[in-house]
């Protein structure tokens, strides 16, 4: 969290947690998917489910999925824009378990059929946290270029990733490792101070034992 999360963002009202935070969750999810969203199944939990409509949470999520920022005055018209772009979506309420009250699960399919499941929470003041990707626990806020690697839980993968980053002079700000169980699926999340070159991401994808690579770039497309 930095000082401009507290004084800021400049945003379209009415709610920083239910409107701006939701735009950001949509935006980050679209970036993580890495391509235009073709279809979105959206599950609203807790306060998002209860008061989301009055705050325009639904419109805000769709606006974010369309690539809009929190201060975009077109946010109220996002449904119509999605229709024009041929993006399909539906909303449902769901109990996502013991999570933050403002939590949403997005099941996304991209234009080229790439799939991604993102669960994220809006923490207040427009700040968000991504809690899980494709069902595996993660924890990052989307403020840094973030690399997420799904791999088999076996020795060597962390070293492969970190040495690639050091080779490209990318400094790691935060790093977390998660796994479902020993020897099964694992995920590493690396929040970086610099952007990672595209070819390095592509190189990672082809390594043995790496199942999926997702990258959040902060650059505009």
């Amino acid at each position: 969290m930095n000082i401009f999360d507290i004084v800021g963002p400049v945003m379209v009202g009415p709610s920083s947690s239910h409107t701006a935070g939701a735009v950001r969750i949509g935006y980050i999810s679209r970036k993580l998917l890495g391509e235009e969203v073709h279809e979105a199944e959206i599950y609203l939990h807790g306060s998002f489910a209860l008061t989301g409509k009055g705050h325009g949470t639904d419109k805000a999520l769709i606006a974010g999925l369309l690539g809009m920022h929190t201060d975009d005055v077109r946010i109220p018209d996002s449904f119509q824009m999605a229709e024009e772009k041929g993006m399909k979506f539906f909303f449902e309420t769901a109990d996502l378990g013991d999570v933050h009250p403002n939590t949403v699960l997005l099941k996304l399919t991209g234009k080229s059929k790439r799939k991604l499941e993102v669960m994220a929470s809006s923490l207040g003041g427009g700040r968000i946290q991504v809690n899980s990707l494709d069902g595996l626990t993660v924890n990052f806020c989307g403020d840094y270029p973030t690399l997420i690697v799904h791999n088999q839980d076996q020795p060597g993968h962390v070293a492969e990733v970190t040495s690639m980053l050091s080779h490209k002079s990318v400094n790691i700000a935060n790093m977390q490792l998660f796994r479902s169980q020993r020897g099964a699926d694992a995920v590493m999340v690396l929040e970086c101070d610099q952007e990672i070159p595209k070819e390095s991401i592509a190189w990672l994808m082809h390594l043995e034992g790496i199942n999926k690579v997702t990258y959040l770039s902060l650059k505009e497309d």
Partner: protein, 290 residues
């Protein structure tokens, strides 16, 4: 931000012999790896966006629910015709707080500080102070760093979200930030600044989040007024030498505890408090039937 307590900030100001805002600026430069110029420019952008939002208030506009709007105009008129008894400056503070709250409800562009629901508190105090006391914009931007530093510590130690901590976390935090910033502008010491924040936050402890129909309109718009006015009086008390018995960091921790103890019904779910009054429910029913 690197600081997790106001005590730490106070200590660093003493050690580095810097102004309050410089300490927060330096921390931002380190954290986001930006130059002083960039950070200052961004903060100036926030201040100007507040000014812009204040100026672009539309007095005849109503929110889509019809619950919020046009009250800013009424206070403006009362101010102009000398009908406000709480003093000229306070009249301006109230007017700006309501106007900003209404703009937010009407889906206009505002600056969340710390949240959209509480977006009227800080600009109401700061924009009015700049105008009525002829301050330079440079000083105003410095005071925003002070507000941001205090707000960051509150967010770290407790919360700034109504859904998590109730309205004390939104209007209460905004009020504490504004009180500190105002003390800074009045030449207060770091201790006086934090003391003002402590007093402001203490006064709003326990405030629940109970928006009617779940919309950031009732009671939110008018709560911006109490947040702003409370900030001004807290700064007056602190500048006069009145001390908060409980130190600021501990007040923030108390706010966190209270937030935890508050039932979900009083944390933005619109299931308790004003939202569950007969009138509140009637409004909610009418809106959902639309």
């Amino acid at each position: 931000m690197g600081y997790i307590s106001l005590t730490e900030i106070e200590k660093d100001i003493r050690i580095k012999k810097c102004e309050y805002w410089e300490i927060i600026l330096q921390d931002d430069m380190k954290e986001r790896m930006v130059s002083a110029e960039n950070s200052l420019k961004e903060m100036q952008g926030m201040y100007q966006a507040m000014k812009q939002a204040d100026k672009s208030y539309e007095g005849r506009r109503k929110s889509s629910s019809g619950l919020a709007g046009t009250d800013g105009l009424k206070i403006e008129k009362a101010n102009k015709t000398g009908k406000i008894i709480s003093g000229e400056f306070m009249g301006h503070v109230m007017e700006r707080a309501v106007k900003m709250g209404e703009s937010n409800a009407c889906m206009k562009r505002i600056v969340a500080a710390p949240t959209a629901g509480s977006c009227g508190v800080i600009p109401a105090v700061l924009l009015s102070y700049e105008k009525d006391f002829k301050m330079s914009e440079t000083r105003m931007i410095e005071s925003l760093y002070v507000a941001a530093g205090i707000g960051c510590v509150i967010a770290k130690r407790a919360s700034i979200s109504g859904a998590e901590g109730g309205c004390q976390a939104e209007i209460g935090s905004a009020s504490a930030m504004a009180a500190g910033a105002l003390c800074y502008l009045r030449g207060g010491t770091p201790a006086q600044i934090h003391n003002a924040s402590a007093i402001a936050l203490k006064n709003l402890l326990g405030l629940v989040c109970d928006p009617v129909a779940g919309l950031v309109e009732v009671p939110c718009v008018k709560r911006n007024v109490i947040g702003a006015v409370n900030a001004v009086t807290a700064s007056d008390l602190s500048m006069a030498g009145v001390k908060s018995v409980i130190p600021a960091d501990e007040v923030i921790d108390a706010m966190k505890n209270i937030g935890r103890m508050l039932p979900c019904a009083l944390k933005e779910t619109a299931e308790g408090g004003l939202a569950s009054t007969p009138t509140g429910q009637k409004i909610a029913k009418r809106l959902s039937g639309k």
